[in-house]
Symmetry: C2
Subunit: 491 residues, 2 copies
Amino acid sequence: MQLKPYKINIKTGDALVAVLHDSTAHRMDLHVGDRILLKSDRSSVVCVLDVTKGNFPKQKIGLFAETYDKLNIEKGDIVDISAADKPNSLRSIRAKLDGKRLNAKQLNEIVHDIVKGQLSDVEMTYFVSGCYAHGLNDAETAALTRAIVNNGKKLEFKGKIVADKHCIGGVPGNRVTPIVIPIIVASGVLMPKTSSRAITSPAGTADAVESVCNVTINAHKLMDIAKKVGGFMVWGGGVDLAAADDRMIRIRNPLSLDPEGMLLASIMAKKHSVSANHVLIDIPVGPGVKIANAKAAQHLKARFLKIGKMLGMKVKVIITDGSQPIGRGIGPLLEMFDVMNVLKNAPEAPEDLREKSIMESGVLLELTGKARKGKGQKMAREILESGRAWKKFQQIITAQGKKKIPKLAKFSANFNAQKNGKVAAIRNKEVAHLARIAGAPKDSAAGLYLHKKVGDSVKKGEALYTIYASSADRLKYAIEFANGTGGYEIT
Amino acid sequence: MQLKPYKINIKTGDALVAVLHDSTAHRMDLHVGDRILLKSDRSSVVCVLDVTKGNFPKQKIGLFAETYDKLNIEKGDIVDISAADKPNSLRSIRAKLDGKRLNAKQLNEIVHDIVKGQLSDVEMTYFVSGCYAHGLNDAETAALTRAIVNNGKKLEFKGKIVADKHCIGGVPGNRVTPIVIPIIVASGVLMPKTSSRAITSPAGTADAVESVCNVTINAHKLMDIAKKVGGFMVWGGGVDLAAADDRMIRIRNPLSLDPEGMLLASIMAKKHSVSANHVLIDIPVGPGVKIANAKAAQHLKARFLKIGKMLGMKVKVIITDGSQPIGRGIGPLLEMFDVMNVLKNAPEAPEDLREKSIMESGVLLELTGKARKGKGQKMAREILESGRAWKKFQQIITAQGKKKIPKLAKFSANFNAQKNGKVAAIRNKEVAHLARIAGAPKDSAAGLYLHKKVGDSVKKGEALYTIYASSADRLKYAIEFANGTGGYEIT
């Protein structure tokens, strides 16, 4: 059948979709979710059919923006419509949901079809569900990682040693990445790092770095920057590496599902797609962070090591203390101030942040062979204390597009201790939530500055932390929320 | 934030959806899949957010037809947008996916939110996946059935005995329903029957009946018909009973998933929603039908009986022979000719169809107490042979809107035996597929007429069946497909 195209000016961001009026679909014996082959004078495309009963033209076929563009439609064009077969990948998705193991070919077909917009949201959800309910074993996880990388852009640094790191997350203020990168790059090792933005936390690395420079840079420009200064620290979502992964994350979000194998593949694909071959994984453990106990951390560590091996990556996994926030700032700019104080060797630099950054840098220097075993931390400390890391940091942010450093949010208030004593605990989730109420990460200048950490003595009325917010309302709301213990335990 | 509404003239048929440009969503800290509360001057609604990067107005909010209509928008209106909480039902869906059991309250919340358009396709898919991967036990299945009925329209026949039947399906030509209904109704028992259309078969009961009368009738009119003539035989999709079920079926279709508990709830909800309290379930067993062996049939039988009891229904389950097609016609009109020949006591009426219809009617007459134990079949046969069933059939199709009986498709060809022998088997799937290739069910006048059934002697060159198609092309294609064994085994 031939129909006039009708452009629906919406990008679905996923599946290629076309819409027919219910009665037109009925006439063609087509149903919601069917595949149809569309041919214009210039191009052809298979897409998923949606059907509407609304006040929609019966003599036209509605094309969402991506479908319209792929067909290269020009004025006066007619679109030819015929039934198309379901993709093979649907059979594999069904098999996964039935508890079967998938091989590399099957996983590659699924990921290929995701990237090409051949799978609807419903179909992708079945894939995620199957992986969640029945798990992905090591072979499947490695194959899924390769499939994600092979069906996306890749930054190639042939024959070079490329370092990368990843933190499982959940610890507020834990902003070691923008310190580790300049130390490693200053040592002469490439570190082309992509990071994520916050979803439920008060700041992701990309949010924090964005307060001092541009982080949305395309792949071509990134290769230039890496060549020129040896590394970068940008937002992964701006580069379109591991595109399939971004689509699967969108499907996982509504239920906050993290199928373990998919999470591992997601992390490793992002490393693999920047050609990283020496990777440090940090698994913080503590109450209120993603990994709550040592047993879960050990399990995850073993899987990372195994999958790293299968992918030909040198992987080192460290399990760290996630029992309280790292550093003093919580919120994009406040965290960046901590980072810069460490890099500048300023007296107010938080010691825990500095020491964790040096430790991690040391591990990477040894893993990449830059330092001999047992000598990595010493080398990292030298690079930091000599000012070479600070200099490299300046080069990187200049290459990415340096910004004038903004001021902290103009309203602030202290949250004070209600009694004399010692800080026994700081509850990660509560202080993170409070920083978000103050406006972080959307408002990069908002958040908390912690004056007291676990083990510190406090006097009644002394400030435990300062809350920063950009409006009096926000501040008032945050103070009300903090009221009570404010996330601190004093004994 | 306040934005002008922009109507997108598409009915999603499911979730209430609004669309913002990516940059507008970003400014409001909203993400794809978030819930937003929309307020117009006249109404308010919670819907699911979609985000587009296309050439979409940044100062407007796009509203799909259902959302636009619910907000009662008038010219010049502005829509107020704020973040809304996720529905509770998402927590229950997550729990199901984690393998937990759900209680009646949780299942009711999920079904309520499905019907109210509060769950996106992705979220509904997670629900179906959870039910598929972990199953629904009897209590969950009964609760899901009640939830579907409570959140949809219901036809009430208070205090009355109401009969219904259901066949698990998969046997071509098995059109007993339009024979059983007039027999039961003629006996004085109400039988308000909704049926489905074919999805993958050459005809559903609704498709077959539609060849002689209207089957798309609203609930109000149906009550009138039931009062007047004692029953009806219509398309369930036209009544909007069990609306939640229709939405779940749409989600199950892409992978042809039939989670057992959901299938049971779907069937029982359709009975429950017409107030049926005496229900016959037919489970045909044979190669190429849905239930392939006796063990699976016994398992299903036990579940139907248990759930029926929990719902306060009298249920009788029969396991029948599904090894070959029933009757001679395959395709809507061809099957209806068989039905009418049985009702008219015509000599060419297929015996197997007549006897199966009498047997099922007998079971229902005994179940409803109209006939004493062991006397049901005799009563059914009397009603049929006396012409009372044929008279009742005429009353029902007249009340629904009788059509002039159409002619069979104008092109036909015989498929002949290649050798002398006996029909050892007819492969259900092959002959069903052939009838579809000939044009059924879309073309109600197309299909097959079987001259020979299992056990019949045939001579080389004698017609096994006639293929009917509305175009020479269709016929040619069907003949090519039949070439070979044509679905028959001759020994």
